[in-house]
Amino acid sequence: MHRFRFVLWRPLQLLPVLFGISVITFVLIRSIPGDPARLLLGTRATPTALAKIRAQYGLDEPLWTQYLYFLQNLSQGEMGRSIVFKIGVLDLMANRILPTVLLVVGSVILSLLITVPLASLAARNRGRTVDHAIRLVSTAGLGLPAFWLGIMLIILLSVNLGLFPVAGFGDTWLDRLHHMVLPCLTVALALSAVLTRNLRASMIAEMASDQATAARARGLPERVIFRRHVLPNSLVPTINLLAVNIGWLIGGSVVVETVFSLPGLGQLLVRGIFARDYMVVQAIAMAFAVATVLINFLADVLTVAIDPRIRL
């Protein structure tokens, strides 16, 4: 059996997962108390006005009928219409997807740029002051809430030093990259705190492994051993950890997007939840779930590519 064969059949497993997610998101958002019609109309709403809105969005139908409509829409590639924004949910999401994607991708790249050198430094100086310092900082990084860290970075780097824009998304590509640095850094600092400790531990394990010892016996310099044997092998668990954390990362985008006023999906999700905009919440939850599943799948492919011994 070819080792990449799972690439073909694995996506099929996605279908039942997606179905499960659709049921869960549908039921969850509706089980939160609250009425979208009332939230839309406010406290002055009259009973007739409320009834009209409910009828318009099919909210007065039994739950299972509503779910069938949802599935029917879904099978036609439709997600329904937003109660708050009066336009199709997919149109709404299409406008908001870019900031979130940039945030997630940028944070991952930035966190790897922080993690790999720090972890290497710590592992190669195990037990020394550098190692202790790096571990201490990463433990502290774990405890800092994103909204606080974000505001601190803004005050320090934007308001006082004027290096970056305070918040927003920018208009041109260059401008956007400039705007994305601080939000990505906020996420990356927290993420690399987790990754550094993990990578450092697996590097230390790899440095004591048989192949590293054998390489040392062949007289290879420590620098070469580290680059050829230790680093690739210790990356595997870190990539998997990163993939597991993708759900956390996407969830975290909700907070970071709010602090930096990035017009992304996370912000839309929060607003959707507060307004009980069912269609919007369902669609974004589905999108986030699919992204998480796909990225984990990608991580598996990458793992197999890096380490030929692994079979899935």
Binding site: D35, L92, S158
Partner: protein, 505 residues
């Protein structure tokens, strides 16, 4: 470097202008950037009841009758003049010679269409408020005739509500959904671009009938949801202005020499709802006792950092027919105790519904809990999310709850009807019921003589206060901030920004 050159240029122009003393207008213009909490939802005025939408399209859509800067007077908008028939049933409007942003004339036909649409459309959130309209017809291009089912003193004021803005019939009939995204404008600005969730970009509408008055080239409404970030953006000069300044930031922003903090009078009143169906709260003396037991000044000082002021009537100070001499019960916990004892309610326990996440309301709840404890009343706080709170209030399963109201129209009838004279929402969920007040409310609605109406509303305020239909807590202004380079950034009590007057230097 370039910036400096421009400054120098501006200075030269300024000097040249002042030296020559000529009538040449200075190179004005510029785009005003305003930060706000949330992005809007639509530009179709009948489909929204939210300030995030109203406040923006008050400068995109014009109305027949406008509210002036003070928020107390009606002034001509797209209607140049109007006349009411002696029986109060027919209004004839003379339309101004004006154009939509697409160059087509604004006709009486468009105005009639807009009034009937808010009354009849399936998607209208406001149809209840315009049921009084019987017919709306264009006699000719410039003459609009509206007939009513019954005389209505507040009718004219209701035409100033942004929901009933004059819209292009042709544009809406062509594509209603598209209109909500990219409307044809009749106001000072038109929509240039709307990046959902990010910003609304407006540009000057050259066809606007007062276009020569407008100084700005455009306005950008930018959503910056986090309060701290929004304030920091103005401080860093990335925004010209920001709205929804938290009370807690006012003092700090006022210290900044580059900024102006605006406290423009609003019609917002925060009040404490009382459930009149609760056996103890059904007694007038108990409600009065609670009013004596609450130290409103302490709430103003703590919760609004002194920005607000103690309220004495359900009609706020900035609004038409406010009764300045209305009773203001002093803070007197001993008197409260005594009243409670007389009513046989010395051992009272009440359930206070608090909306989670609304910081000022959570603080107020804790203060009131402490204050009532001093009068011997035990208060249990029940924290729920906003939507659930409304459901509970509507169902009447609460004893106390804080809420607020801002006026959409200059006329007091709307609020008065909802709060004191209505039956479908149980007088704003309080279940307050006084037939005498209801009668006065109905009478005031059809009284066409302003002096007599004022007397009626003053009487209503006195009775409502005596009955303690709810407890008036405080009035608060609209708190906005702008950079010193911005002039005439002003919001009237009904929430309209007079951006046609705003100057960016």
């Amino acid at each position: 470097m370039r910036r400096r050159t421009i400054h120098a240029l501006a200075l030269v122009t300024l000097l040249a202008g002042s030296v020559l003393g000529s009538s040449l207008a200075l190179a004005e213009g510029g785009v005003l950037t305003i930060g706000r909490r949330e992005d809007g939802t639509t530009f179709d005025p009948i489909k929204t009841a939210q300030n995030v939408d109203f406040w923006v399209f008050m400068n995109v859509h014009d109305v027949l009758v406008r509210v002036d800067r003070t928020g107390k007077e009606l002034v001509p908008g797209l209607a140049e003049s109007w006349e009411m028939s002696p029986d109060g049933l027919t209004y004839t409007f003379k339309m101004r010679d004006a154009k939509f942003s697409d160059g087509s004339p604004i006709t009486a036909e468009d105005a009639a269409f807009s009034i009937l649409r808010i009354r009849d459309s399936e998607e209208s959130l406001w149809s209840d408020s315009y049921q009084v309209v019987k017919t709306a017809e264009a006699k000719d291009d410039r003459t609009l005739v509206v007939t009513l089912n019954a005389p209505s003193a507040p009718f004219l004021a209701s035409l100033a509500m942004p929901g009933v803005s004059v819209l292009s019939k042709a544009a809406i009939e062509a594509d209603e959904i598209d209109f909500g995204e990219m409307p044809v404008a009749s106001g000072a600005f038109k929509v240039k671009e709307w990046i959902r969730g990010d910003k609304v970009v407006l540009e000057r509408n050259p066809e606007f009938w007062e276009a020569d008055k407008v100084k700005l080239d455009g306005v950008e409404w930018i959503s910056v949801p986090d309060d701290n970030t929004r304030m920091l953006k103005v401080q860093a000069g990335e925004l010209d202005a920001a709205i929804f300044v938290p009370f807690s930031s006012v003092a700090e922003l006022e210290k900044n020499p580059d900024l102006t903090v605006h406290k423009d009078p609003s019609t917002r009143e925060d009040h404490l709802l009382l459930n009149h169906e609760h056996p103890a709260l059904a007694k007038k003396e108990v409600r009065q006792a609670l009013d004596f037991a609450i130290d409103k000044q302490a709430i103003v000082d703590t919760v609004t950092f002194g920005v607000g002021e103690v309220a004495n009537s359900y009609i706020p100070r900035g609004a038409l027919y406010h009764n300045e001499d209305n009773l203001q019960r002093p803070y007197d916990p001993e008197k409260a105790k005594q009243l409670l004892a007389e009513a046989g309610e010395s051992d009272l326990t009440l359930n206070y519904l608090v909306e989670a996440g609304a910081q000022t309301w959570e603080q107020t709840a804790v203060l009131i809990q402490e204050q009532l404890a001093k009068a011997g009343v035990t208060v249990n706080l029940q924290k729920v999310d906003p939507s659930t709170a409304w459901d509970i209030e509507v169902a009447g399963e609460y004893d106390l709850a804080e809420n607020y109201w801002t006026n959409d129209v200059i006329d007091p009838d709307q609020k008065t009807t909802f709060v004191l004279g209505h039956d479908t929402n149980m007088n704003y969920m309080t279940r307050y019921n006084n037939p005498k007040v209801k009668e006065l409310v109905d009478q005031a609605r059809v009284e066409m003589d302003p002096a007599k109406r004022e007397a009626l509303y003053k009487e209503i305020q006195v009775i409502a206060k005596d009955d303690v239909h709810w407890i008036d807590l405080y009035y608060s202004p609209f708190v906005n901030v702008s950079r010193k380079s911005i002039e005439n950034f002003y919001q009237n009590p009904l929430g309209r920004f007079f951006l046609e007057d705003t100057v960016k230097n």
